[in-house]
Symmetry: C3
């Protein structure tokens, strides 16, 4: 190759190397700019635990800004009772829903306890298996809190 051709070849090499580094960049610094996301496991029927968790959710939104964080409460096992329409913490769950917190009930648990969606608080969401939802969220990069 002439010098000019060699120069163009080098330019090509640099361009391709840049592409390679650009493609690889997300791998090198994946955590710096990660959106805060947290899933809270609500597997107990203890109102004090629920109040603590709902306080946690509020503090997280205050600290980070409600628009900047995803919060999901997943209720299963004995915890499902706190999402029934007559729940002792129903008002606070409604407040959390209004503030943008996602609240999810486990349909496996509901079936075991002969509950249907008509028995539950309005505006909550449903998943087939609460524990699988919690697993998947973690493996998708969400933090996990067990209040």
């Amino acid at each position: 190759m002439s010098q000019s051709r060699f120069h163009r070849f080098l330019t090509g090499v640099v361009a391709v190397a840049s592409l390679a580094f650009a493609a690889a960049a997300p791998a090198q610094a994946p955590q710096a700019s990660v959106r805060p996301k947290v899933v809270l496991q609500m597997s107990e029927a203890d109102p004090a635990k629920w109040n603590l968790a709902l306080n946690n959710a509020k503090n997280i939104q205050t600290d980070l800004g409600a628009a900047n964080v995803d919060i999901e409460l997943v209720a299963y096992g004995p915890g499902i009772a706190m999402l029934k329409a007559d729940s002792i913490v129903g008002n606070r769950v409604d407040d959390a829903l209004a503030a943008g917190v996602k609240v999810v009930a486990c349909e496996n648990t509901m079936r075991n306890q002969k509950l249907t969606q008509a028995d539950m608080l309005n505006k909550i969401s449903y998943v087939q298996a609460g524990v699988v939802e919690i697993m998947q969220k973690q493996q998708q990069g969400w933090a996990y809190i067990r209040p």
Copy 2:
């Protein structure tokens, strides 16, 4: 370069760029195809907690297919009692083992409680420090559930 050479050069650039992107691809979408894996922390001697955890394991296998998920229960501290040969939940632990769940006892805890492998349920596994096992699994991408 002639047009023909330039064309071959471009082909080379594209080939190398493709290699680069292929190499980088696992970094860009590592979570889409990740195998479900979960470690459950069993640090309490409460049979109700163990039954809930063993139900969790069963639900996870039903929901995802037993062949498609790795489940490991790690017992330490007071939880170790539930893996003794005379455990009140021994039959259910045996069922979980038969279903492909890995059940692990902490040897640090066993030493503190003067237990040997002869005192324990058959077919369980052992690690030096249960809490380190749980840490390492998480840092290797496993989800964590604390029943």
Copy 3:
């Protein structure tokens, strides 16, 4: 291209492909050499739970070497009581601090309980929101233990 030029071109392709793979490598095996790091959630005032957690911290340091692992205890909610100057587990917390464990109190909780830093054990650290600290640590790759 002549054979010689083609050879140099191929050399360039191999060099760039190597760069690409080198750049991508951290993404392909990020977990093999990851430093062990764990955050422990201390949200209860139960001295038995604290003793178990402090035993956990000691076992982790024994198993991995204190210099090779980062351990952080984050106290919030009812757990904050165990970091007060008159804490029943104060001596053990002091031992953990001396052994290199980081111990962190939640200032949101302190404000709710009318506590100031003067009321607390020496040498502990402070964060605005304990639960956010725990979230962030996890999203930065730390394992999480809820004793």
